[in-house]
């Protein structure tokens, strides 16, 4: 063995390297089979960031299909319910620059809304129940329907099918348990407004900086 190495160093090294290559190849091959990941983990990650309203405003039938589309290369600014924060999070995840929301797909509303059925007007047609992706509408044929506000994602999908237009979207009121402190005005704004004659110059200055 030693004599082989000393007499044919090139062949010995080739054998050693070849042997290592085969060994690692076998290990990697085994790992690829043994630890194979089912599905695309990226889709799950994207899906976790989407707001799950299942509203379809992006043009896909639900959040997961859109997540799959993003993983397949679609743009990330098609989700109005998520708004800029979702776009930013997606951009962070995918390591791409964050675009602004594509207004074509709808407007982002800051205030969360839920569907509300004016129960006196409901005729019990069950059309909204079929439309609700969240099973958040309770009712039966010819019986009054009502929205389970806790489960409603405010996707709007039930408004369109209602034949008597008795569904409206009402903003969710802040309660004591959901109330939170507001961020104070940014110090930059406050500083700019310190001197009365400086007011309004902030905008031109910031745009100047941006340009």
């Amino acid at each position: 063995m030693l004599s082989l190495i000393s007499q044919h160093p090139v062949i010995a090294s080739l054998i050693a390297l070849g042997g290592l290559a085969l060994l690692f190849g076998a290990v990697l091959g085994y790992a690829a089979v043994k630890f194979k990941v089912e599905g695309n983990p990226l889709v799950d990650q994207i899906d976790a960031l989407l707001p799950q309203t299942q509203c379809g405003q992006c043009g896909y039938p639900g959040c997961r299909p859109y997540a799959q589309a993003i993983a397949g290369g679609d743009v990330i600014n098609k989700c109005p319910p998520g708004g800029q924060s979702t776009i930013n999070a997606l951009a962070d995840l995918l390591d791409v620059p964050a675009p602004t929301l594509d207004e074509e797909h709808g407007e982002h509303l800051d205030i969360k809304r839920v569907a509300f059925i004016r129960e006196g007007e409901c005729i019990g047609c069950t059309k909204c129940i079929q439309a609700c992706p969240m099973d958040a509408i309770l009712g039966a044929a010819k019986q009054m329907h009502t929205v389970i506000a806790d489960e409603c994602t405010g996707c709007d999908l039930c408004v369109e099918p209602c034949p008597v237009d008795c569904i409206e979207m009402i903003p969710v009121e802040t309660t004591l348990s959901t109330w939170k402190w507001e961020l104070p005005p940014s110090s930059k704004e406050v500083a700019l407004n310190l001197i009365a004659t400086d007011r309004g110059r902030g905008e031109t200055q910031t745009t100047g900086e941006a340009a």
């Binding site: 309203t53 299942q54 994602t153 004591l176 939170k180 500083a191």
Partner: protein, 754 residues
């Protein structure tokens, strides 16, 4: 005497002007009863209490008016006797300035107590009873957080409590409520501490921590604590030593881990006011209906501590202290560091109100405009939790929740030390509060969206399942239709099986209730007869003088005829039914089997046999009909004619059938002679016909018939035997035994007749 234990120094901290003297000049004051008391249902951390009184009820002082809704909730009691004037939404003492449900009591001035349940010796009561009493008294932490006290006194069994700390620190400027309480009620504080120690199963160390700026309180406590194992510990004044976790560190050197409670490191910490309230609840049975509050600020004429009923409106308190609204810069509940500006002076004093601060503009100027952070790091030096406030500020501005959490934002106690030292006047605490709020909101939204995802996925699954079920049903139907088609084709090819099945089904369908069917038929007959009678009634002119026309008469005749026909039909049906019943029951117990046999027989019959069978059945029907007709004629009933008709019809039918049979017969004999099988079938047929005839016969007739046939058979057998003897048949023995059998049978039959 100095304290014997080592005191640890709090990292960071600030020394704001104390301004405590101004409220300590006057003794503890009391207020007259206010015109109304407003008691919000949520004065504590946790779920709001549930009202147990209705509007209009009279309540006594100390009566339970709202009960705790779960463990993390607190009872509420009436602070004085009076009437519940409303249960409605009122402005809350909350930074949001929101309204919340509150019970409003109009005092009646009598201040009448409900009967209380005092306890002379609490050591005889067990742990559960004592905790239950504290819980029943509605005590929440009076230091400011409002944590339900009973929960703290009942730590999880795996937490071994070795230290009880009573917090008399009161580090915030202006506030002296606990100071005065310790000065005036030191004995009760000590008794309360011993009580809490008893409830907590005697921890090793009992400490009362007081800052050294309250010498009178320390002296009073030490005097009261003589002879007990309670240690009154004084330590240098520094803000915020009074925070629970800060005081624990100062007195024990232990730090409460991130996200855990003091009990996890064996420590329970209670405010002195809470300790006193717990003592009074157990000793005297008094619920928590009042507290000591500091009313202070330069815009007031009188600055002092008062014992005030919970629910007293703050504007009433201010009015009693000569409040000058024009001088005040704002109204603060709590101290200047951690308190919040009240949105309105109509809010009530609640269980956590330790101070009402009404400063002038000089005293507490409005915050200066915030400027940019200069990264001086003074906030980090001041932070008692050793956080990095300026980093948190950046992340809060950028709304970088992950970084905020990584920098332990949730360990911030919002003490305000960083804001206090900030040279740029940045309202740091407000940033942290906002950031905490949005993180919590974000987490809640995340949870919601996860739930939404699960619901959506479940819905998708359900829809898919429904679709699959529908598809399966559709396939099953399709298959069934195909099978039916196949069957139809088979039937066309060989009608054997379906005919059999049909017969079985028919018998089975008709079988279950023959009695009912008979009754039905009888009803039908009765109805038909009725209508016939009706039709037969002589025509009466509707109006006098009207002549009954020929036309009308004809019509009536037609009607009668129709009715008669109906009656006949009904009768026939009934008769048929009865006949079928008797034939069914006569030959076999199992009508189904019989029907199968019959059907099989019919199938195997040749057309001639079929005709014969039908002829036989027709004949039996004819004989029955004739019988009935005779009967009816004898009675002289009106149906005779109809019956006669029916009989005629039957006779006609029989004639037809006979003619048909006659046509068939010419070919038949050839077949019959050629094949023995056919002859056998004919014999079976004959026997069957005979059996049918027998069924319709009377018992005697039957026997006579049988005898006759037997005699004939015996004769035949004899003939055969003689023939066999002549021919020397090998079967002669068999013939003989057969003859003997037949003879014995004949004898048997004839015997009873003779």
């Amino acid at each position: 005497m100095t304290s014997l234990i080592k005191v640890f120094e709090l990292p960071g901290g600030v020394h704001p002007p104390e301004r405590k003297a101004q409220s300590l000049q006057l003794p503890l004051g009391r207020l007259p009863l206010p015109p109304e008391l407003v008691l919000p249902l949520n004065q504590h951390i946790g779920a709001p209490a549930k009202p147990v009184v209705a509007v209009g009820d009279r309540v006594l002082k100390g009566q339970l008016i709202a009960e705790a809704d779960g463990i993390f909730s607190v009872n509420l009691h009436a602070p004085t006797s009076g009437q519940v004037s409303a249960i409605e939404d009122r402005l809350l003492a909350h930074p949001s300035g929101m309204t919340g449900e509150a019970i409003v009591i109009t005092p009646d001035g009598k201040d009448e107590w409900i009967p209380l349940e005092p306890c002379e010796d609490y050591t005889r009561l067990d742990h559960e009873t004592l905790v239950a009493r504290v819980r029943a008294a509605g005590i929440a932490g009076l230091g400011g957080a409002g944590f339900p006290t009973a929960v703290k006194l009942n730590p999880r069994s795996n937490f071994k409590i070795d230290t009880l700390i009573v917090n008399g620190t009161e580090c915030e400027p202006y506030i002296t409520a606990d100071d005065l309480l310790m000065q005036t009620r030191a004995e009760e504080v000590i008794a309360g501490t011993l009580l809490l120690a008893h409830i907590l199963k005697q921890p090793e160390r009992l400490l009362i921590g007081v800052e050294d700026n309250k010498p009178l309180a320390i002296a009073a406590l030490r005097k009261a604590a003589e002879g007990t194992r309670i240690q009154v510990v004084d330590f240098p004044t520094k803000y915020p030593s009074g925070g629970e976790k800060q005081l624990i560190y100062i007195l024990t050197g232990r730090e409460v881990p991130h996200g855990q409670i003091p009990a996890s490191i064996g420590i329970v910490c209670q405010n002195v006011g809470t300790t006193l309230a717990a003592w009074r609840a157990v000793r005297y049975g008094e619920p928590l209906i009042s507290r000591i509050t500091t009313v202070v600020g330069e815009s007031l004429q009188i600055q002092r501590n008062i014992e005030v009923l919970i629910g007293t409106p703050i504007d009433f308190v201010l009015e009693q202290h000569g409040f000058d609204a024009s001088k005040a810069s704002r109204l603060v509940m709590g101290g200047p560091m951690m308190g919040f500006a009240l949105p309105d002076s109509r809010v009530p004093v609640i269980k956590t109100t330790n101070c009402i601060l009404a400063p002038t503009k000089q005293e507490l100027p409005p915050p200066a405009p915030a400027m940019a952070c200069i990264r001086c790091g003074m906030c980090a030096e001041a932070c008692p939790v050793s956080l990095m406030p300026q980093q948190l500020l950046w992340y809060a501005q950028a709304e970088d929740h992950e970084k905020l959490q990584a920098h332990n934002l949730f360990d911030c106690i919002e003490c305000g030390a960083c804001s206090y030292v900030c040279p740029s006047n940045i309202p740091l605490v407000q940033y942290y509060r906002a950031a905490k709020g949005s993180i919590r909101q974000h987490l809640a939204e995340k949870e919601r969206s996860d739930r939404s995802r699960r619901r959506f996925e479940f819905r998708q699954e359900r829809i898919a399942k429904e679709e699959a079920e529908k598809e399966a049903k559709r396939l099953a139907r399709k298959q069934a239709a195909e099978e039916a088609k196949l069957k139809l084709a088979e039937k066309a090819a060989a009608p054997v099986a379906p005919v059999l099945a049909e017969a079985v089904a028919k018998v089975e369908a008709s079988q279950p209730n023959p009695a009912e069917q008979q009754a039905k038929l009888e009803r039908l007959l009765a109805a038909a007869r009725n209508s016939l009678e009706h039709a037969r009634q002589p025509l009466v002119p509707n109006e006098e003088g009207e002549v009954i026309s020929q036309e009308k008469l004809e019509k009536q005749q037609a009607r009668i005829k129709q009715a008669e026909l109906k009656v006949a039909e009904a009768e026939k049906k009934l008769a048929d039914f009865l006949a079928s019943q008797s034939t069914n029951s006569a030959p076999a117990d199992d009508p189904v089997a019989a029907a199968i046999a019959r059907a099989q027989a019919r199938i195997s019959m040749s057309p001639e046999d079929k005709l014969r069978a039908s002829l036989e059945s027709l004949q039996t029907r004819l004989s029955k009909a004739q019988e009935k007709a005779r009967e009816v004629q004898a009675e002289g009933s009106a149906n005779a004619e109809a019956l006669q008709q029916a009989v005629e019809k039957l006779e006609q039918k029989i004639r037809d059938t006979q003619a048909e049979l006659a046509q068939l017969v010419p070919e038949a004999p050839a077949q019959a002679t050629s094949s023995e099988a056919d002859a056998a079938a004919a014999a079976i047929e004959k026997a069957k016909a005979k059996a049918a005839a027998l069924a319709s016969m009377s018992e005697e007739d039957k026997r006579a018939e049988q005898i006759k046939s037997l005699e004939a058979r015996v004769d035949k057998a004899r003939e055969r035997l003689t023939k066999a003897e002549e021919e020397n048949d090998p079967n002669i023995e068999a013939f003989r035994t057969g003859l003997a059998k037949l003879e014995s049978k004949l004898k048997e039959l004839t015997a009873p007749v003779e």
